[in-house]
């Protein structure tokens, strides 16, 4: 049976997909729905190849790693098949672990240019109408927004406690002044009554005289 082959190129990287159409669904004979083999060829680097599960894992690794780099998250990616970690801001170390026990892990270094080429090759594969979708991208949004953290209970208490405390203190101090004012007022009234009583007593004395 003749297999179909597609090649996705991006500068220094080529991704070759080999497979068959799904004849049971009456698909176009030129499409690929069943991927039997794939090869990722990078100039000056060893060829990476494997089956469909390996391709899914490698695509997940590269997508997660690149989005972590862009979002300033901890960009170390580890899995049973591939590890990617940053060496510095412009180079990354790839560790490929074979599923066969006798094959030693393969370690090599790639720059940002090759990393971008690889991700763009996978993007071409994802958006191709002729190959069945392998990896569905999800764009994480608003995860790192700083304003979301301002709604923490700790932040709310920090925000609300000072004005509440100041209001309480104002209330206590002002109520104390009201008490002092009332006492003074009472004193004034009692002194006026005393004076009035004295005047009345003087008047009565004068009348008696």
């Amino acid at each position: 049976m003749l297999q179909n082959k597609f090649l996705f190129n991006q500068s220094s990287v080529s991704l070759e997909i080999i497979g068959l159409p799904d004849y049971s669904n009456d698909e176009n004979k030129e499409n690929i729905s069943i991927i039997s083999q794939w090869k990722l060829m990078i100039i000056d680097k060893p060829v990476i190849e494997g089956n469909l599960d390996h391709l899914k894992k490698i695509m997940t690794a590269f997508y997660n790693y690149s989005s972590a780099l862009l979002n300033d998250e901890i960009s170390l990616y580890e899995s049973d098949l591939i590890d990617i970690k940053p060496e510095n801001s412009y180079s990354h170390i790839l560790l490929l672990k074979s599923s066969k026990p006798e094959v030693k892990p393969l370690k090599f270094r790639i720059g940002n240019s090759i990393l971008a080429d690889i991700v763009n090759c996978f993007d071409q594969l994802s958006s191709s109408n002729r190959v069945k979708i392998i990896y569905s991208k999800n764009f994480k949004s608003l995860k790192n927004k700083k304003y979301l953290y301002s709604f923490d209970t700790k932040n709310i208490s920090n925000f609300l406690l000072p004005p509440l405390f100041s209001l309480c203190s104002i209330f206590i101090v002002s109520s104390a002044f009201i008490y002092v004012y009332e006492r003074n007022n009472n004193k004034d009234i009692s002194s006026l009554l005393n004076i009035k009583n004295e005047l009345v007593s003087i008047k009565s004395i004068i009348k008696l005289l």
């Binding site: 500068s11 690149s66 801001s89 412009y90 720059g111 940002n112 240019s113």
Partner: protein, 111 residues
């Protein structure tokens, strides 16, 4: 950060339109973007593209941004701005696919 006396807030439609414009430009300019990235990867043997990009970018920031601001001063500081410039170029290099607009939009909103 801009060297302007008016503080115009960008609308969401304008923000989306600018991102679409940027992604379309990045698609056609990918060979140059990749050349700059490659130059930074191999700076000892091939420093021209990176140095030219960096010098022009610093020139534009000095012309159009408020250089009295601490953020802008940090961008102009040659000892610390490399990482920021690499991130800008790398973000552009990753947004040339069909859904590159969504990728760049998400990156900017998460920033």
């Amino acid at each position: 950060m801009r060297n302007s006396f008016t503080n115009n807030n960008i609308k969401l439609e304008e923000f989306d339109a600018l991102i679409k414009l940027t992604t379309e430009m990045a698609k056609s300019l990918y060979p140059y973007i990749r050349q700059i990235l490659y130059s930074r990867d191999d700076l000892i043997r091939n420093p021209n593209a990176w140095n030219e990009f960096k010098n022009r970018y610093i020139e534009l920031i000095s012309e159009r941004f408020n250089t009295n601001s601490m953020k802008v001063k940090r961008l102009l500081d040659p000892s610390t701005n490399d990482e920021f410039f690499i991130k800008i170029i790398f973000s552009l290099a990753l947004c040339i696919s069909e859904d590159g607009y969504l990728k760049l939009r998400t990156t900017l909103l998460n920033y």
